[in-house]
């Protein structure tokens, strides 16, 4: 392992003018699939982390933030989730959080890139353990294609795709939201990555996502979390729902009774996460008026 006297750094451009650097101990893996280039590094600060085409997807030290927020928020609102579809999510972190809920009967994971799953299984066993749950079925398929064939089938859809410009671009489109709507039961919820609103060049993606989702779902709210390796460290999630409101239909007591161990999510934080900074609120309202 390289000592700290060696200047070995992973760098990611967050904008043309802002760069994030992570000191690297070791480059553990590099491979190119049909969809992306995948690399795994070991670092002193974040532990092991995985990148896709040079962008950090998750790291050992922070994935709990993201996986907890995208799972527990909708799970604490919907009163009876039996069938869940995870689009992307090949690392298993989302499935792991879902596996804590006994009432869930089916966890379908639709991940186009088998290599991604294989790499995660090898290097991130703490995430990939989620894939071993007996309720999990993995479909190596394009998310849009999978959804096209589903109608009135799921209580919860989690869109785990992160990059609206890469091979997952199809998962940030109106056709995706529309097909999700169709795939959900009448009281279904869809949560998705809403990107980071801070830098100018990310703002338009964020706006476009909201514009499309608002048109597709009657209830559409945005919530936030702090994720250090994301651009500006600030990340949004979308809560799109056919019936349930994320605050009014939120049942904290019921969730507390489950005694799920978390590091980020709490029932206090649940409500707070929907309280957004003014500039974000303004941006969302502008798009809702469109």
């Amino acid at each position: 392992m390289a000592g700290n006297d060696m200047e070995f750094w992973f760098e990611e451009m967050h904008t043309n003018n802002v760069k994030m650097s992570i000191r690297v101990n070791q480059h553990l893996y590099s491979g190119t699939s049909e969809f992306q280039r995948i690399d795994v590094f070991d670092s002193p600060e974040f532990g092991k982390f995985l990148t896709s085409n040079g962008n950090v997807i998750f790291s050992e030290q922070e994935e709990f933030t993201y996986d907890e927020m995208i799972v527990h928020v909708p799970m604490a609102v919907h009163p009876d989730v039996k069938r869940v579809l995870v689009i992307g999510g090949g690392d298993g972190g989302v499935a792991r959080e879902l596996s804590y809920y006994k009432e869930i009967e089916v966890i379908d994971i639709c991940e186009p890139d088998k290599m991604f799953v294989d790499v995660c299984r090898k290097f991130f066993p703490d995430n990939a353990i989620g894939l071993e749950d007996v309720r999990v079925r993995i479909y190596y398929e394009d998310g849009l294609r999978f959804l096209r064939k589903c109608k009135d089938k799921y209580d919860l859809i989690i869109n785990d795709a992160t990059d609206p410009t890469g091979h997952e671009a199809g998962l940030f489109t109106k056709e995706f939201y529309g097909n999700c709507y169709k795939a959900l039961h009448d009281d279904g919820i869809m949560v998705y990555q809403h990107g980071s609103p801070f830098f100018d060049e990310d703002e338009e993606n964020c706006r476009a996502m909201h514009r499309k989702a608002v048109k597709s779902f009657p209830v559409m709210k945005v919530y936030q979390a702090n994720i250090p390796t994301c651009p500006s460290g600030y990340w949004l999630f979308g809560f799109a729902s056919k019936k349930y409101h994320p605050i009014r239909d939120f049942d904290p007591k019921k969730w507390e009774d489950r005694k799920i161990k978390t590091w980020y999510y709490t029932t206090h934080l649940h409500s707070g996460a929907f309280m957004l900074p003014k500039y974000v609120e303004d941006m969302l309202i502008e798009e809702e008026k469109e």
Binding site: T173, E175, K182
Partner: protein, 482 residues
Amino acid sequence: MDLERQKKAPLYRALQEFRRQRVVPFDVPGHKRGRGNKELVDFLGLQCVEIDVNSMKALDNLCHPVSVIKEAEELAADAFGAKHAFMMVGGTTSAVQSMVLTACKRGEKIIMPRNVHKSAINALILCGAIPVYIDPKVDTKLGIPLGMETADVKKAIEENPDAKAIMINNPSYYGICSDLKAIVDLAHKNNMLALVDEAHGTHLYFGEGLPLNAMAAGADMAAVSMHKSGGSLTQSSMLLIGEGINEGYVSNIVNLTQTTSASYLLLGSLDISRRNLALKGKQSFAKVCELADYAREEINEIEGFYAFGAELINKSSVYDFDVTKLVINTRGIGLTGIEVYDLLREEYDIQMEFGDLSNVLAYISIGDRLQEIERLAGALNDIARLYSKPTGDFFCAEYVTPIVKATPQEAFYAETEKLPIDQTIGRICAESVMCYPPGIPILAPGEMITKDILDYINLAKEKGCSMQGPESEDISELYVLK
């Protein structure tokens, strides 16, 4: 095709060589490798702007090629199986016009399908030839024009033994092919030239299992839109000639209207694309066919859409079908193709090639990936769910036999007057009246207006067809020759 030789790209190489040489320019263009136009460099990039240069010894001259362009054209001829290939920088329009101008002069006849491209009609305006139209047949359910039936071509030849040439679309915009070989043979047996508009057919020369291409069918000339399925830059094209055609004469014709400052960006792109097609075309188009087939399968599972394919083949008006063309009939969801085209663009950020009253066309090419096909299928699925309407009656106009009284050239230059449409019977039309569907003219400049034609225009309008062309949008008036 000599595959070893096809690895060369002489013009591309000469441009790369030129880039390294750092020659001091005291010639045009005046931007001088971009130095005089910073915004242009910022916009297009230095890589692009610094090879925007003029003809010079090292880079040859398109008007009279002697070195690298000549060699690039020879390689193209070899790749396409032609006697000679002309690199064209004025679009396939200029290639089509060069074919017509080569084949016929003022007062001579040329046989062509009624749904021929505008560029061919415009060539007739330039040269003064007389068109003899053939009914391309129509699929009234799908609302599209088909191909010429060989028997109709034979009849037209018998009725016009003095015609100089026959023009054939291979394939049409919708992927429909006529019996090219039979028509070429018929033309030759009657001392006529066979000219083939292959604006949508570059891939036919390189893919496997696709319809026959013009040069393989023994045609005399073909206009091949390299920039469509061939992958070169927009506006670049190729004109091919067969054994019976004089290269020097065609060169004179091309130079009548082609620029003397041909763009090296376009020419370079033709050379690179030709090499790609020759070396990798087979695999590339196998993938295109696979994508198009997959898209058809997926789209046909969505209720209300019909993406048609090889099942249309009937060995007459649809002699063959180009499976790379993805045409989707939208009538089953109660929307016009134009409405679906607009929805895809405005709501789903998907740009289609075109939409007509009953179909939308997606152009599938060497640049497509499965993920984009999934987006298209996903969007169509969503459109069917959100925007479907009850299906109404569908009427598709039929073929109206034109009576050509003046050549397109005479009609173009004639004195005209505007009359209420019901007073135009017996007059010669100065405008063109296109009827959609199926997108075939009912009247073209120089044609006699009859009571039957006016009755038909009224009927088609009443049934919901869209009439385009005349200045008066509701077709209440028409320009006629004085």
